[in-house]
Amino acid sequence: MLIKLALRNVFRNRRRSAITLLVIVFGAVGLILFGGYKAITFRGLRESTIRDRLGHLQIYKRGFERAEAKKPLEYGLDDVAQLRRAIESDRRVRMTTAQITLMGLISNGDKSETFMATAVEPRRDRAMNAQRLVAGTNLPDAEPDAVIVGKGLAASMHARPGDYLTLMSTTTSGSLNAIDVRVAGIFTSGVKEYDDRAIKMPLAGAQQLLQTAKVERLLVLLNETDDTDAVRADLDRLFARKQWALEMKDWSQLATFYHQVVLLYNGIFGFIGMVVFGIVIFSVANTIVMAIFERTREIGTMMAIGTTRTSVWRLFLLEGLFIGIIGGVAGLLAGAGASGIINNAHFMLPPPPGYTQGYPLRVLMQPGILITAFLVAVITSTLSSILPALKASRLKIVDALGHI
């Protein structure tokens, strides 16, 4: 009977209930849209961070992380061929690619700038799709002195595809060395600060500049990001068994920017959640308080004919619960509809700070987000009716019956 009473009471003052439900629906839609946007942003950023830059795992010579190298590539890997064969025999591994990072000066004959170079295996690097060419071609497979230059650095050097520039850096023995390189292409990563300093060059060219046969690290790219921990554990066992002096990091340990974005978005999501929580609390509490005020005499009557305080408390708590459930379900439907509209509208967002390209606004519909939005609606609505319900159950019967 309490359930029947509570349900009917929810629809008793339709206008007020509708306003309260609208508040809950808007709150739930807000949570679903922002949660979905957050989820798709995290996934996109994670995958682009892994596949464009970091790989799922990076393997170094043991000591690379702790030791301060006295010379470039002091802790470089000598022979990656054997290591690569062992790793690539695993079906979960999509590919491996060796890299060297180095810094130095770049000159066009008239002026010099500092550069940060990533030396890669051109064919394998193209599979990672790390950058977008804006002029010229990508790194050729067999041309050690070809480079592609970041858009900002190319502009600073007044370099165009086909031009020659000079790279100067410190060799592994500590002396200075310089090589002439041909600009094969100009690229953008989307991050202006990076494009102002970045160069990509073939591994062979970097080894020639640094006068070494070593590589700095071996990147491991997997087919599925979810396999990262399992593959890492297997590789740890493999290294131990083979007694290879290697150490390893996974993408999560390296993706500082990704974690900063996650932290920021989670903070914003938490704040929005609190705002929604507060609005729903006050809205539902107001509805219940108004209902109690209007139904004071009814409460008095119910208690006079034998309804216990607990039952009166439960009745109003149920009303809050039902408002939450109805609002939550309506919010899920509205949120799903709004997500569909947004995803089909192909809205473009402006470039984020530090980026040069905008990106499409998309919302990911995940069960976790929908469940969270529903639970927030139901729990806040129920919680907000606790105190008013308690107040109703504590009414003095005589006063309540005399209430006009």
Binding site: M1, L5, R8, M303, A304, I305, T307, T308, R309, V398
Partner: protein, 235 residues
């Protein structure tokens, strides 16, 4: 006749705060009500009729004195612990009917039985019986706002009687009804009193109702000025 009175009040006093002053609603009332009685509490407004009904109905507590209902001293028991007494022993009929608006006539009558946790079949039989008794079988599915004043009061009477109380309390039960409807309601209540032997106590201004009471208590300024006495009921 049962030797023990159904209601016994001994020197009961009740004072209400009203702004900065205290109003003495009852000033040491003592009263006994026999089982099966049909008692009218008469008196002008503010004489203490409703306060006395509230105290007998276990929805208010006296400042002093003692109240015994059906052999149980309810004076020291907090009101919220008297919910079962109100549910099982008492029936209430209000001046403004006080039906639950979102429930149908049937559901309003059924409500006390749900509080008593009566099985569904028994509930159904009992509700149908009482709706028939008050002549509202055809209006069972209608909500209070679809009923006339007289019909609402009939539903309220059925709700008060369906739990088979020993004592029914009515506060000005005919005050919101026209004279014809009020007369019919009085006929019904009187008939129920005769048939069920349920004790009725009602506060009233209505001379017609007072005339039909078997016993009358006249109140003035919070005290009883005429002791109840058994009288021949007016025909």
């Amino acid at each position: 006749m049962h030797p023990q009175p159904l209601v016994r009040l001994t020197d009961v006093a009740r004072t209400y705060p009203l702004g900065r002053v205290h109003v003495r609603a009852l000033t040491g009332v003592s009263l006994e009500v026999s089982r099966g009685d049909f008692l009218a509490l008469a008196g002008p407004s503010g004489s203490g009729k409703t306060t006395l009904l509230n105290l007998i109905g276990c929805i208010d507590k006296p400042d002093s004195g003692r109240i015994v209902i059906d052999g149980v001293d309810v004076t020291p028991v907090p009101l919220h612990r008297l919910a079962a007494t109100r549910r099982d022993t008492l029936g209430f009929i209000f001046q403004t009917f006080n039906l639950i608006p979102v429930l149908t006539a049937y559901e309003n009558v059924e409500y006390p039985l749900l509080l008593q946790h009566l099985p569904a079949a028994k509930r159904r039989d009992r509700v149908r019986y009482w709706l028939e008794q008050v002549g509202l079988s055809d209006q069972a599915r209608q909500r209070p706002d679809q009923l006339s004043g007289g019909q609402r009061q009939r539903v309220a009477i059925a709700r008060a009687m369906v739990g088979e109380p020993k004592l029914a309390l009515a506060d000005e039960p005919t005050a919101n009804l026209d004279s014809v409807t009020a007369g019919k309601i009085l006929d019904l209540v009187e008939e129920l009193n005769d048939r069920t032997h349920c004790t009725f106590i009602f506060a009233t201004h209505d001379p017609a109702l007072m005339a039909r009471a078997r016993s009358r208590v006249r109140m003035h300024d919070g005290d009883i000025v005429t002791e109840p006495r058994l009288e021949a009921r007016a025909s």
